[in-house]
């Protein structure tokens, strides 16, 4: 197979509607689309074309091997049209124009949602592959046929390589969700979901595992939380809610109609349901409303060694661990130990000996205002603030990041 000039950049848009001529110099039809096949650890391979056949006035496919030369003015075939083999389409094949061109895609490196203005091809080991996507305004200019004006040369082309692209929409079903996407910081992932249109963000989040969903969920803005959850079946919703910490479940319940709450509450485990119901009593803008139960607490009789082992065991369910609260047998808060203290202490020392005592005035009641919480955290330089009930029992903790989310909601 030959190409007119191997050095020029090849773009999908150059070939759309280009006439196809067979070996007998008969104009067979015009090109409509390219069919690409995903490959493991490689760029998708172009396996065929879709064309409009003039003689039958129908849409047909053709295997790529039949093509002699792919040119911008005409596409020539190796044989006469009668001998051309139709393409056997496989389930994961996708069409470049139909499924990707002009659609929204996710740029995994820039973690943003952009549009596929053009698609770039290239030869790898003498076979045509999809190298990447042109997301630049230059791509739009090229497609508008304005490329010949020097004026637009200030617009620089910008490509995203195929392995840094996540397709969405219809094409998502045909390809896999990139591991790179799932590995993005949950906040970036949430940002991507918020920028996609609701249907696509719904489809994309559907393709994540429950753990990723629950991490992303915590970063979404409230209105998006509600919208995205609408896309789940009741059964899926249950799984996801079981992965969410109690305070996030409460946030979700606050977003939905009162009548629907009961149904969701009854699907939770007994323990979680109790916590959630308790949390629901606190107003949204109080310490109780934003506190979490996602922290570690250990008994004051434990040793440093025991505590460290406990952390190793349960660390996977926690977003982050910076400290451990120490409580007595009645559940009263005694003090706090930082990770640093734990690591640098003698392993068999009792935890009570190494912890820092917490005074009552360094804690809050659940009905304390956010202002009060922020004041205390600032005054004592705290990353978290313990929330105690009227019997001094430890209920939860307000984390500095959750507080910031409430104080600066638009961030």
């Amino acid at each position: 197979m030959a190409l007119c000039d191997p050095l020029t950049l090849l773009f999908l848009s150059q070939f759309i509607n280009v006439p196809i001529v067979d070996s007998a110099d008969i104009v067979v039809g015009k090109l409509i689309d390219f069919v690409a096949r995903p490959e493991q650890d490689n760029y998708p391979h172009i396996v065929g074309i879709v064309y409009h056949d003039y003689s039958t006035k129908t849409q047909k496919t053709m295997a790529y091997e039949s093509i002699e030369n792919l040119g911008g003015d005409e596409i020539t075939l190796k044989t006469v049209v009668q001998k051309v083999r139709p393409l056997e389409i496989q389930p994961h094949d996708f069409w470049l124009k139909r499924d990707i061109l002009d659609k929204q895609i996710v740029d995994l490196e820039g973690t943003r949602v952009v549009r596929a203005n053009d698609i770039r091809f290239g030869l790898i080991e003498n076979e045509l592959h999809v190298l990447g996507i042109d997301i630049s305004t230059r791509g739009i200019i090229r497609r508008l046929g304005l490329d010949k004006f020097r004026f637009f040369s200030f617009l620089k082309p910008a490509f995203i390589e195929w392995d840094k692209v996540q397709v969405v929409g219809k094409a998502l079903k045909l390809t896999q969700v990139s591991e790179k996407l799932v590995k993005l910081h949950p906040a970036d992932l949430a940002n991507v979901l918020e920028n996609l249109n609701p249907r696509q963000s719904g489809q994309l989040i559907q393709s994540f595992d429950a753990l990723t969903i629950s991490k992303v969920f915590q970063e979404l803005k409230p209105e998006h939380k509600r919208d995205i959850f609408k896309t789940f079946e009741p059964k899926q919703l249950e799984t996801i809610l079981s992965h969410l910490p109690a305070d996030e479940v409460v946030d979700y319940l606050r977003l939905i109609a009162k009548n629907d709450r009961q149904k969701i509450l009854s699907s939770l485990s007994e323990n979680k349901k109790k916590t959630v119901e308790e949390f629901l009593h606190y107003a949204d803008n109080t310490a109780g409303g934003i506190m979490t139960t996602e922290f570690l607490k250990v008994d004051s009789h434990w040793t440093v060694q025991q505590t460290l082992e406990h952390i190793r065991e349960v660390s996977h369910v926690h977003r982050s661990i910076f400290f451990v609260y120490v409580v007595n047998e009645k559940g009263h808060l005694l003090g706090v130990v930082s990770l640093r203290t734990l690591i640098t202490s003698v392993p068999h020392d009792p935890i009570e000996k190494v912890m820092k005592r917490i005074k009552l005035h360094q804690t809050v009641r659940p009905d304390a205002s956010l202002q009060e919480v922020a004041t205390l955290m600032t005054r004592y330089n705290l990353m978290s603030l313990a929330v105690l009930d009227y019997n001094h029992k430890l209920l939860g903790a307000v984390m500095v990041d959750d507080l910031l989310h409430h104080l600066i909601p638009q961030a």
């Binding site: 002009d102 659609k103 596929a116 739009i140 249109n197």
Partner: protein
């Protein structure tokens, strides 16, 4: 702990405004500077003769708004996005260019409205317009768009005074209703300009984009179709209901006494029977709020739609570097219209009227896209148009195109 009564009262208003949907918001936003001035001129210059156009336009508005809403519910994309994905770059560039032109015109008419409302008190537009442009930019960039929008929306509901006024002037309702269903037409440019403007201010290109984006942003889908349809119809009726009374108010005061509208002061006269000397103040305030509302919404809406269609980054949380197109488009659509309004000697009323005229002439472009989309089974599935909707929409499109052609011919022949 009790909250001060003002705060509770504000919360109640916010809540109310929070639950009203796209149909009603579009209806309220419809009666902007261009709407008020066009309806006033239609009534003052032609009496009730053009009410039949309003009647027809109400039906088309209900149909087109319902279609835009339906496309939004089914595709869950903005109109620009749908055109891009199904028609490609060239068509979307064409549609975006059309929308940009009509929106710039409409924004110019909003700034004219702001200038005109202050002119009533003798304050120069050279002070008011730059100041308003700065305020718009500042609030968009630094302030809360949503809260501001709601405040101006609430105040622009003041235009309901026209309804009361419409009864106070004791108009000949019988004649008005007769004109509502009896077509009159004059083959003169001034009549045709006013007629196209009347259509163009009621069914607007931006209104089509707006209602569709609105249902998408609210996260609504086809399960909300029935309630959204009812609201789109109700909203269209409400919009025209106010328009009807604005026309009545000017027809039975200004037209009756042969007073033409040359500036906002003249238009304010129509409210005198209800509020006496207070009319000018009330008109100015209502016009100001309605214009400010449009001046806020339109630059952002324009930038959002274009950026979505071309895949540029948008939103006020992007940096200047990443969002350069977004910010440039907003600045462009604030600065260019303001400069137009600042041209010395330009008639503010004429800017408002002719912007609506341009809206009307270019409306078919957008409506044809809407028609192509809504009748495409591969996009709309089972939600394609019924024949009735198609007939009314095509009649609207053909009506506007023929009115535009006749206008061009009569203008060329010098008939006035």
């Amino acid at each position: 702990m009790t909250q001060p009564w003002t705060k509770r009262w504000m919360l109640k208003i916010m809540f109310f405004l929070g639950v009203i949907g796209p149909g009603i918001i579009t209806a309220l936003a419809n009666n902007d500077a261009g709407g008020i001035s066009t309806y006033s001129i239609v009534g003052a210059h032609f009496g009730t003769q053009m009410l039949w156009v309003l009647f027809g336009v109400t039906i088309s508005l209900a149909m087109t708004q319902e279609m835009g809403m339906r496309i939004g519910l089914v595709t869950r994309m903005g109109l620009g996005g749908v055109i891009r994905e199904y028609f490609g770059v060239r068509w979307v560039a064409f549609a975006m260019f059309t929308m940009l032109i009509t929106n710039l015109g409409t924004i110019a008419s909003e700034f004219s409205g702001i200038a005109a409302s202050f002119e009533i008190f003798g304050i120069s537009k050279y002070i008011v317009v730059p100041l308003a442009a700065l305020i718009v930019w500042f609030i968009l960039y630094k302030g809360s768009f949503k809260v501001t929008q709601k405040i101006f929306l609430a105040f622009s509901a003041l235009l309901a005074v026209y309804i009361i006024n419409g009864f106070v002037i004791k108009p000949d309702f019988g004649a008005a209703i007769r004109d509502l269903v009896t077509p009159h037409i004059q083959w003169t440019p001034s009549f045709l300009v006013a007629m196209i403007a009347l259509i163009g201010t009621t069914i607007t290109p931006w209104g089509q984009f707006f209602i569709q984006s609105y249902v998408v942003d609210k996260g609504l889908d086809v399960s909300h179709y029935k309630s959204e349809r009812a609201e789109a119809y109700l909203g269209s009726f409400l919009a025209s209901f106010v328009a009807f009374f604005i026309i009545l108010s000017t027809a039975f005061t200004l037209y009756k006494h042969g007073i033409d509208i040359h500036d906002a002061k003249d238009a304010a006269l129509a409210l005198r029977p209800l509020v006496g000397n207070f009319a000018q103040f009330l008109f100015a305030f209502g016009l100001f709020c309605a214009s400010m509302l449009g001046a806020f919404i339109l630059p952002v809406a324009t930038a959002y739609v274009i950026c979505e269609a071309f895949g540029w980054e948008y939103g006020f949380n992007t940096t200047w570097k990443n969002g350069k197109f977004f910010y440039s488009l907003i600045l462009l659509s604030i600065i260019v219209p303001s400069l137009v309004v600042l041209i010395p000697g330009i008639s503010l009323i004429q800017v408002m009227l002719h912007a609506q005229n341009v809206n009307g002439m270019l409306l078919p472009v957008i409506l044809i896209f809407v028609m192509k989309i809504i009748n495409d089974k591969s996009i709309m599935g089972e939600y394609t148009n019924k024949p009735v909707g198609n007939i009314i929409a095509w009649l609207t499109i053909i009506g506007i195109i023929s009115a535009t052609l006749v206008l061009i011919v009569t203008s060329l022949l010098g008939i006035s």
